[in-house]
Symmetry: C2
Subunit: 196 residues, 2 copies
Amino acid sequence: MASGSEIERLIQLLAKLPGLGPRSARRAALVLLKKRDLLLEPLAAAMAEAAAATRSCEVCGNLDTVSPCNICRDPRRDPHLLCVVEDVADLWALERAGVFRGRYHVLGGALSALDGVTPDRLNIASLLGRAKADGVEEVVLAMNATVEGQTTAHYLMDLLGDLKVTRLAHGVPVGGELDYLDEGTLSAAFKARRSL
Amino acid sequence: MASGSEIERLIQLLAKLPGLGPRSARRAALVLLKKRDLLLEPLAAAMAEAAAATRSCEVCGNLDTVSPCNICRDPRRDPHLLCVVEDVADLWALERAGVFRGRYHVLGGALSALDGVTPDRLNIASLLGRAKADGVEEVVLAMNATVEGQTTAHYLMDLLGDLKVTRLAHGVPVGGELDYLDEGTLSAAFKARRSL
């Protein structure tokens, strides 16, 4: 290799980021080293600041600069609605959509026998505590539409039996073309058809 | 947004890396903040170390921890062969292929009227100096096979007129399928066909 060991190490670590393979990590390292003042130094500073400033919310598991997080603190959020997600990224995605005005609970993953994720490794005990204590009226299970996500949703539904438990609708994505959709999605969309 | 301004700033800077869009930058930021000890801190340290350790080679323009770089210093490298590339990434790609045992010259880009890249913005003066002074016998123009790259190659060929100047062969990429290749490549490969 033409490059020193410091550059190699930077490339190796960049390649661990999701979305960057070995080749794009090399390109990213080159861009970083070329734009030191404009990109490398601000990014290093932003990483240190974000690491110092963020913590997991002790209530819901969201990542924020305060704990409890700004969503858990927000008095305009309906405390009777609880949306359970697998991951912080899912919470952020729902917030971007702006459709939910209740509070969240981040499980930290989904049940997976293959990956050894058992119920005790997810934030389920605290979910049950919140669901029973806080006067929650509806729990929305917003798991991914994967085998693991749906397994987790069924498992939680059994535990939350006496509450109103809902899940996200399955169907044709907005902007989606039928021709490109799998049979499972089409079948779900057809069964859940609504009158106009 | 659910996230603090420190997280937003980290996402914005990550999104400037090649290969990361806004969505994957968000995923990368989450992974960094979740794996602080394993990824964020080592990456921040590696960035600082690489920035402190690397410099542009004063001879060829390569990025390395020493200047002149390890390729320019290597006595086993043939000083009579000079390979001209647009960018450090191209130099690294040729080094990975391990086909060239001479020295390099990095132009720092390609001529482009659209982007305002004129000859004086590329390392052309130092290339001419090296080509005349160092007893160079052959200059390989390893520009990209783009309009800008080929324009640059023609421009350099005129300047280097009295030396032996070569360019990389065009043809079918190894492992490539004819069906997926453009007409220009097929035409070049056909014209340059070789007897078996």
